[in-house]
């Protein structure tokens, strides 16, 4: 826990609320992430982890609160933030290579894009090689397997060198084997490029295996609004560094690994286990919490 959060951190979120109509989804989120962190986000289904990601991405607007990237308020989606979704991330009408080059061409414009086509192509080929997809450059996305498609999507984002790479359950639609393969692959890429990643997943094993820092988002907690209050949105109920042992899936078999998962399950997924807001495990050095702000809908507190 940190009493003096640094607003200039790569990602900084303070007093963030998101409500759809009267339904509060995110309830006072405070978060600060340093560059180079591989942040995994878990939580019960429907707790708003994807909503949080979309807010950071700029695809949706917060009801209240600030989101800063590199010290600046975020606007509509822009190249500072890369995104890999579970699907629909690739453009079906472009070949794999064209998909990877696309960002370069869009930013440069047609004239510049034509003049520097060789340079862009080489850069795209470099990333395709990193993704071990060199021989598939001429294919269309539908000709690739799900795992390959996600690797192309990664290359497509990485070529833009975003400040932060947002991933919304990117491996959720893959079979277990491919999934593990891609997890290791992502770790290798991270070791090489040290990019900042915000990784949303519903798979606890995946979260603990990949992350350098885990965020548990959950609506199962208690606060001073009383027992009967049922309209709580999700908060970050746990935030701590994860031990990174190895880039091998063997670690998933260890007792330590299992214990971590059990702890997360208790922290965030057990409706009967509700910690008070002041007792959350926010051990991470960048973690901070503001509790003194007024609620989003002041009137609804009176109802209880």
């Amino acid at each position: 826990m940190n009493d003096k959060p640094n607003r200039d951190n790569l990602l900084f979120i303070e007093n963030l609320y998101k409500a759809y109509g009267a339904k509060v989804v995110l309830d006072d989120i405070d978060l600060s992430v340093k560059g180079g962190e591989l942040c995994t986000v878990v939580g019960p289904s429907g707790c708003g982890k994807s909503t949080l990601l979309r807010l950071i991405l700029g695809q949706e607007e917060p009801t209240k609160g600030d989101i800063l990237i590199g010290g600046k308020q975020v606007g509509y989606p822009s190249p500072e933030r890369g995104i890999v979704y579970q699907k629909y991330t690739l453009f079906p009408h472009l070949s794999v290579l064209e998909n990877v080059i696309l960002g370069k061409n869009l930013t440069a414009g047609p004239i510049e894009g034509f003049r520097r086509r060789k340079e862009f192509r080489d850069e795209a080929l470099f990333f395709l090689e990193k993704m071990r997809l060199t021989e598939h450059g001429g294919k269309y996305p539908h000709e690739l397997s799900g795992g390959m498609q996600q690797r192309v999507a990664l290359a497509q984002s990485l070529i833009m060198k975003p400040y932060i790479l947002l991933m919304d359950e990117p491996f959720g639609a893959l079979d277990p084997g491919t999934r593990e393969h891609l997890q290791i692959f992502l770790l290798e890429l991270w070791e090489e490029f040290r990019m900042t990643v915000f990784f949303v997943t519903h798979d606890l094993e995946e979260a603990v295996f990949l992350g350098t820092r885990i965020l548990v988002l959950s609506q199962y907690y208690s606060d001073d609004r009383g027992e009967g209050y049922s309209d709580r949105g999700a908060r970050i109920v746990a935030d701590y560094p994860l031990p990174r042992q190895a880039t091998s899936t063997v670690v998933k078999e260890t007792a330590e690994f299992g214990r971590l998962i059990q702890q997360i399950r208790l922290d965030g997924f057990d409706p009967t286990y509700r910690q008070h807001v002041t007792k959350f495990n926010l051990r991470h050095e960048d973690s901070f919490q503001t509790l003194d702000v007024e609620p989003l809908f002041p009137s609804s507190t009176d109802a209880t």
Partner: protein
């Protein structure tokens, strides 16, 4: 062992030769039926005009297509075909172009959507043939009136379909394009447009039937040439020997256009049919 039936039931798997034979059978029956009826009727009355013999039709085709008209010095069938195709291409081409731009912008720009969707929906329900007199009054009975009928008759359908197709592009793709440095303008013309193109060709294919209808109708009412004009002209003399070849010719033209569009989609947009899911 279970035996797969050739023809009966939902599990039937007709063999290739059988499919070919069965596919041709209705055509053979139609032509054969016509020949028998024609033969019987001509037997009874050699001057009968309703069911001309094949040789009579061939003679007429020779006259219409391969002999210079004595009055105009032109090959009538060729002139008719070119006039009709020009009207068709102009009307449908313009409708496709305007429909593409309108529909795409309506589909992606919420502002354009709320402004235009209600009125386009309303206009698309007006039966074009019902306002044909209005078109003739406003645009005259010349080329413009006919082209406008085809244009207006196809425009709203194309616009609505393209708007729909645009809205079906996953939101994720548009966000992704923005994170790749795309401007809003580029999203529309570099990300959405290329994906909509094959759908436009599909829509044109579906509109061909209606466009032919509008073409023939407008030519029938006021024209001096064209395939529809000719059919309705010779109707006065009960010249089935001209009408039947003309109808077959129109059908062939329609079939060729349809096939060309289908093949274009296959060649130019190989990703289209397969990457839907």
């Amino acid at each position: 062992m279970r035996k797969t039936p050739q023809f009966l039931g939902i599990f039937a798997r007709p063999s290739r030769p059988l499919s070919l034979v069965l596919g041709l059978l209705p055509f053979v029956l139609l032509v054969g039926g016509y020949l028998i009826v024609s033969h019987i009727r001509l037997e009874a009355n050699p001057r009968d005009k309703l069911t001309p013999s094949i040789s009579k039709m061939a003679k007429s085709v020779k006259l219409m297509a391969f002999t210079k008209d004595r009055r105009t010095g032109q090959y009538l069938m060729l002139t008719d075909t070119l006039s009709s195709l020009r009207r068709m291409a102009l009307g449908l081409g313009l409708a496709a172009l305007v429909g593409l731009l309108l529909g795409m912008n309506m589909g992606i720009l919420p502002g354009a959507g709320v402004t235009l969707v209600p009125v386009i929906t309303f206009l698309s329900i007006i039966p074009p043939l019902a306002v044909l007199p209005v078109l003739f009054i406003v645009f005259g009975v010349g080329e413009l009136g006919k082209v406008m009928l085809i244009f207006l008759g196809s425009l709203f359908v194309i616009t609505r379909d393209i708007c729909d197709a645009t809205q079906r592009i996953p939101r994720e793709q548009i966000v992704k394009a923005l994170t790749l440095g795309s401007s809003q303008f580029q999203v529309i013309y570099q990300v959405v447009l290329p994906q909509i193109m094959p759908r436009l060709l599909v829509t044109i294919r579906l509109c061909l039937g209606a466009a032919w209808l509008f073409l023939i109708a407008s030519e029938a009412i006021a024209s001096t040439d064209g395939l529809g004009y000719r059919i309705f002209l010779v109707r006065r003399y009960l010249s089935m020997d001209v009408i039947i070849p003309y109808v077959l010719w129109i059908t062939l033209l329609g079939f060729i256009m349809d096939a060309l569009l289908r093949l274009t989609i296959k060649w130019r947009y190989p990703w289209y049919a397969v990457s839907g899911e």
